[in-house]
């Protein structure tokens, strides 16, 4: 049943996946094992997205399946499971003034399924909030997203704030968004720009290697 669940999620067979997860739970299977199977399926979904076999629709539905299974299973979880080892930590958010979240969410998803601990601050995130979170979780990587051109200056301000807080040397900073490019990375003072989620994962992996 476990293999079937993984296949159903990975193939985006929504109804089947939810039924299987419920059946496994009803049959008394370890809730933690069900969650792990779902996570494993998410990695397959991420790989298929990376291979351009899947696109946003599949990612969105996979994310919703994961959430539904999580909601179903969590009340039955006894005690805290040991957190899986992670490649590194990422603090990510859409910069202040901009409320666009789709690109940022895709990057968060892909970093997560590729083994990073992702702290997603959401949208319209002020520079001070980035700084505060960096102090708190000590990430190796900071990701800034922006869809509007106002993000050029806001990213620059955010990088400056990280610098002023004395944290710039401790983090690598990547930026992303439809209008971003190498020129924007230079302008904002970020270390690099990623054209898409796959590029973000490649960058992140290269920075923690």
């Amino acid at each position: 049943m476990r293999e079937k669940l993984i296949a159903a999620i990975a193939d985006i067979n929504e109804a089947e996946a939810i039924q299987l997860a419920q059946a496994m739970l009803d049959a008394g299977e370890d809730p933690q094992a069900i969650l792990e199977a779902a996570s494993q399926a998410m990695t397959i979904v991420g790989n298929r997205f990376d291979q351009k076999e899947y696109y946003l629709p599949e990612l969105i539905i996979a994310g919703e399946m994961m959430k539904a299974i999580g909601d179903m299973v969590k009340p039955k979880l006894h005690g805290q499971a040991a957190p899986a080892a992670r490649l590194g930590k990422v603090v990510i958010g859409t910069v202040a003034g901009d409320i666009h979240d789709i690109g940022k969410d895709v990057v968060s998803f892909m970093l997560d399924v590729n083994g990073f601990e992702v702290h997603d601050l959401g949208v319209d995130v002020p520079a001070a909030k980035f700084v505060e979170k960096i102090r708190e979780v000590r990430p190796q990587i900071v990701g800034m997203s922006g869809f509007l051109t106002l993000a050029f200056d806001q990213m620059k301000r955010t990088v400056q704030a990280i610098q002023d807080a004395g944290l710039r040397d401790q983090v690598k900073i990547m930026i992303g968004g439809a209008i971003m490019d190498e020129g924007a990375a230079r302008y904002t003072g970020a270390d690099a720009y990623g054209a898409d989620a796959a590029a973000a994962v490649r960058l992140a992996k290269s920075w923690v290697a």
């Binding site: 696109y55 969105i60 539905i61 051109t149 106002l150 898409d196």
Partner: protein, 414 residues
């Protein structure tokens, strides 16, 4: 050289832009664009003030027009009427002073303003759905319209039932609220009309006669939201197709207002089908056929659609290149210009795509370098309009001036 009259200047600009749009040879490459927040920045006016003070917005746009002299102008159309938006209680929008800082672009708040189980209702009676369900969800002032009995039921003696909702306190309150909103919006429109007349008196045509959105985005932006509509391609494809048929009719109806204008440009704002948003197969099934059909219908009416292909469209070039020659303009943002020109140059007028980061962070020489690169690439073949890559909000004035001056000088056809 004798001074040209305003009439001569107006006709010259109109002819220049029309020729370029149809891939015929004008005297030189036109240069203009949908500059959004930039004119106010240039005039030292915050966007909040521009949205609240219509006279101030007009003055800023005149200052911008006089200095840069774009071939055709947008005027203060992008400074939306903040007071009317307050009075209408637009819940699906944030703007300066209403959830955003004073000098930030307004932004749409996505949501499922039509739920998944309402597709049939929308397809059956789009207007009834918009009035009774959508409007109350989008506008606080229109919450009372949720009481509306669908107008289709008024046939024969059905009108006798009107009192059941017209006299409810909620409906009455909504009527009062929308009247206040409409009165304010009318002032804003009067300001727009005034500006168009003033620009005309200076010899500048307006750059738009219509506004439109692709059928997929009509459903995706205003009704379902991005996440939901993307998932609907897999979850309920038949329902989505039925709604897209309706939306294609709305698209044509919406854009048709541009017919007969001196410059019959209908701007089509493309939002959600680039790159990772959907597969090529999904694009070919859900997005492009409906948009293409709608665009052809507008072209049939003598309208020139200007499609604003936001983001990077390189992966879809082979599909979107399939349009009749000399009938449509494609505005490029991040799409590689050379690649697009190879596929469509001289057949579809290309507009753009000077990177906004260069206009903001570069030098006048950087800007000229980019303009020269794309002008040189066209090798004197007409069908090019110079503009920023995306709707301009921020730039250094000397950089923007370089884009205008260099294009006017170097872009002369010989």
């Amino acid at each position: 050289m004798s001074e040209k009259s305003v009439e001569e200047l107006y006709n010259e600009r109109l002819a220049r832009v029309l020729a370029a749009a149809q891939c015929q040879q004008p005297d030189r490459i036109p240069v203009f664009g949908p500059f959004q927040k930039y004119p106010y920045q240039f005039a030292g006016v915050t966007f909040k003030d521009a949205m609240n003070d219509y006279a101030l917005a007009r003055a800023a746009c005149h200052k911008f027009l006089d200095y840069f002299q774009p071939d055709v102008d947008f005027g203060p159309i992008f400074a939306y009427p903040a007071k009317a938006m307050e009075l209408y209680g637009w819940k699906a929008f944030k703007w300066p002073g209403h959830g955003l800082d004073d000098d930030v672009m307004y932004q749409y708040v996505e949501g499922e303003y039509m739920t998944a189980d309402e597709y049939d209702e929308f397809v059956y009676d789009p207007s009834g759905f918009m009035l009774g369900k959508w409007a109350p969800r989008q506008f606080k002032s229109m919450e009372g319209f949720a009481q509306t009995i669908p107008w289709r039921r008024f046939m024969w003696s059905g009108w006798m039932n009107l009192n059941f909702f017209w006299l409810t306190p909620e409906y009455q309150e909504s009527l009062r609220a929308v009247q206040a909103g409409a009165e304010e919006a009318a002032k804003w429109w009067a300001s727009q009309f005034q500006y168009w007349g003033e620009a005309r008196a200076k010899g500048f045509p307006m750059a738009f006669a219509g506004w439109d959105w692709p059928p997929f985005d009509i459903i995706g932006d205003t009704l379902r939201g991005t996440r939901a509509i993307l998932a609907d391609m897999r979850r309920r494809p038949a329902k989505l197709h039925a709604a897209l048929e309706v939306a294609t009719k709305i698209f044509v109806e919406y854009g048709s207002g541009a017919a007969g204008a001196a410059l019959p440009f209908c701007w089509v704002w493309v939002h959600k089908s680039t790159r990772e948003f959907m597969s090529d197969a999904q694009f070919k099934e859900f997005y492009w056929p409906y948009l293409r059909r709608g665009l052809l219908a507008l072209i049939e009416k003598g309208i020139i659609p200007v499609v604003y292909w936001e983001a990077d469209w390189e992966s879809r070039i082979e599909h979107i290149a399939d349009m009749p020659a000399g009938k449509i303009v494609y505005h490029l943002s991040n799409t590689n210009f050379e690649r697009a020109w190879d596929a469509m140059g001289g057949k579809i007028c290309l507009m753009g795509n000077v990177p906004n980061i260069v206009l903001l962070g570069g030098t006048p020489d950087d800007v000229k370098g980019y303009c020269k690169r794309i002008i040189d690439y066209t090798k004197g073949t007409p069908g090019l309009i110079m503009d920023a890559a995306v709707m301009l909000d921020e730039a250094r004035p000397e950089n923007l001036k370089a884009m205008f001056d260099f294009t006017r000088e170097y872009g002369v056809y010989r």
